[in-house]
Amino acid sequence: EPEVTQTPSHQVTQMGQEVILRCVPISNHLYFYWYRQILGQKVEFLVSFYNNEISEKSEIFDDQFSVERPDGSNFTLKIRSTKLEDSAMYFCASSDEDRATGELFFGEGSRLTVL
């Protein structure tokens, strides 16, 4: 069964360092998302991406964050200068349908620990 894959599964970094989290969405999907979940808290929307541009972003997704689809398969989230509060599980998701029917398929997540 097709699945969303994420790498790395766990990354430890020092505060101020740049981090890139990678995702390979399901191949025929057109809509891509990043969500995050701080330990013990709810899952929060970061950004949605369609047709090679950001379609929506949350207040969390500030100038330190960026997303890119560098080729036909990868979808990346970059954090330019990590802060302690960026420590969280980051989930990539994809969908082949717009909001009207929008089941999202999530990856297993990348755990980011900022020291």
Binding site: V4, Y31, Y33, Y35, Q41, K42, V43, E44, F45, S48, Y50, S55, E56, S58, F91, A93, S95, D98, R99, A100, T101, G102, E103, L104, F105, F106, G107, E108, G109
Partner: protein, 113 residues
């Protein structure tokens, strides 16, 4: 406004019993979805119910939606130990332009063998 608040926060039942989880939300929605998350794992989509639907079934799952009360419930019948997980409702609000799901805090379900 805060969306998707589930109750109870935690639920412990015996195998074979039914589990009911509730979700309330505050704004108008396009649809409401339920997801499951095993500890330390990703989210798995269970079921989606549109704003013009009142009830939906999928296997042992039954979801209801009451838009007048802005609430939904998820019923898992004949529960199994493998159903142990966190369950989240997620709403797709009308006022956003894209598919931006707002998740609740979740209900931690424990099914004891």
């Amino acid at each position: 406004s805060q969306q998707g608040e589930e109750d109870p926060q935690a639920l412990s039942i015996q195998e074979g019993e039914n589990a009911t989880m509730n979700c309330s939300y505050k704004t108008s929605i396009n649809n409401l979805q339920w997801y499951r998350q095993n500890s330390g794992r990703g989210l798995v989509h269970l079921i989606l119910i549109r704003s013009n639907e009142r009830e939906k079934h999928s296997g042992r799952l039954r979801v209801t939606l009451d838009t007048s009360k802005k609430s939904s419930s998820l019923l898992i019948t004949a529960s199994r130990a493998a159903d142990t997980a966190s369950y989240f409702c997620a709403t797709d609000p009308w006022e956003t332009s894209g598919s931006r799901l707002t998740f609740g805090e979740g209900t931690q379900l424990t099914v004891n063998p």
